[in-house]
Amino acid sequence: MSFNENVRGIYQDQLKSLQNAGIFKVERFIHSAQAADIEVEFPSGSSLKKVINMCANNYLGLSSHPEVVKAAHEGLETRGYGMSSVRFICGTQDIHKELERKVTEFLGTEDTILFPSCMDANAGVFEAILTDEDVMISDRLVHASIIDGIRLCSAMHDTFKHSNMEHLEQKLQLHSDKRFKVVITDGVFSMDGDTAKLKEMVELCDKYDAMVFVDDSHSSGFIGKTGRGTHEHCGVMGKIDIITTTFGKALGGASGGCVSGRKELVEMCRQKARPYLFSNTIAPVVVSGVLKVLEILSKSTERRDKLEANTAYWRKGLTEAGFVLQPGDTPIVPVMLFNAKLSQDFSKDLYDEGIYAIGFFFPVVPNGKARIRTQISAGHEIQHLDKALDAFIKVGKKYDILGKSKKEIIEKYGL
């Protein structure tokens, strides 16, 4: 069938139904480098507005750090722009191997393999290491990319209630007949900002002979005393069999990801993971930037310490102002509004006040749990946070939600 008017009409109707449902995604164009202060064109065609960015994954403020930019320039000069090949033909440079070694060292694992993104790492890893004799048991709130990877794998799949270790234990018992069992979780969950119970999980997996998989994309670089991730934070360094993570968030924020863990599992990915085999790996310029990021983070914990202090300051300010927050201590700080329309109106009013923060609602988060997800950065200074707090309080007063409980907000605005 050609793309005739009938076909076009069907797609137009689908797009219109997304708009009608209020879930049509619109991009905002940033005319500056990624940072705490950015210049944004929104809506499209409007004049530029200076705003404070409160929704980037730029946790360590390294996305535009001068040393990282300089290292990337040097990489571009010495290793060129592209590889024009997948890894196993002629797409592997010395710096790709160097980055794999440095990530292994940083995460405290046995070996590492780079992927074009963590989405690709998660999409490829399960199919490469498991068969239909095995079972994958995942937390019900894991990231979409893990769900895609699970779908591509022939192993049986089951889930356990979010962070519910009793339920996980029941599932480990239910599937005790399987050859391999892999328990799958995010380290820090991206929507709620809570941390997986890795210590308990590792104990259960020891008891039932299961492997542990952790996606530490929202943790690597800043969670744990030296920023190694949730395995450091939970005291289980060396006990996680597979870690996936991204270089697209705290670790420079450009792109790329990896699988890091047991050397045989990493080698299986090198032999069998399709996103590794059939796609170019990370461009040399990005590899050079990430190497510098790891060097900066290995020298000093200054940036993750500042992030921790900023996060505590922000949480305290919002709590004292009377907002309902998701509990936790990570830089993902969701301000709960419960009602979808309220989350959109709130976000728009914040933008008018010069604060860029996005409202999330169903299906991105469960129905009735709409929120503004704020994300704190080491790139924020106290004056950024104070200005953002003033704006949140002003808008919070407008909608009369300060000091109100979840029940009161839902009574006022509905679910």
């Binding site: 019900r140 769900i147 049986m156 089951d158 889930t159 599932k171 239910l174 129905n367």
Partner: protein, 81 residues
Amino acid sequence: MENIKDIVLEYVINEYLEDEDEELTYDTPLISGGIVDSFSMVSLKRFLEAKYKISIPDDKATPEAFDTVNKITELVKEFTG
């Protein structure tokens, strides 16, 4: 066969409901209603197979056949004779 219904209902409530206030009947749409995602069906299938010592072929274990407690009961009855 009321007993099967109640056993399935109890399992679904314990397995899938996060909020204790949620109510579930024999005809509440589980999969199309977003209570059970199609991924999580596997534990229900394994539970039924172990409990009633039956084997449900994959082509019968469809989201439609698992959509309500009543439909699941019908499916179990088909295999228990």
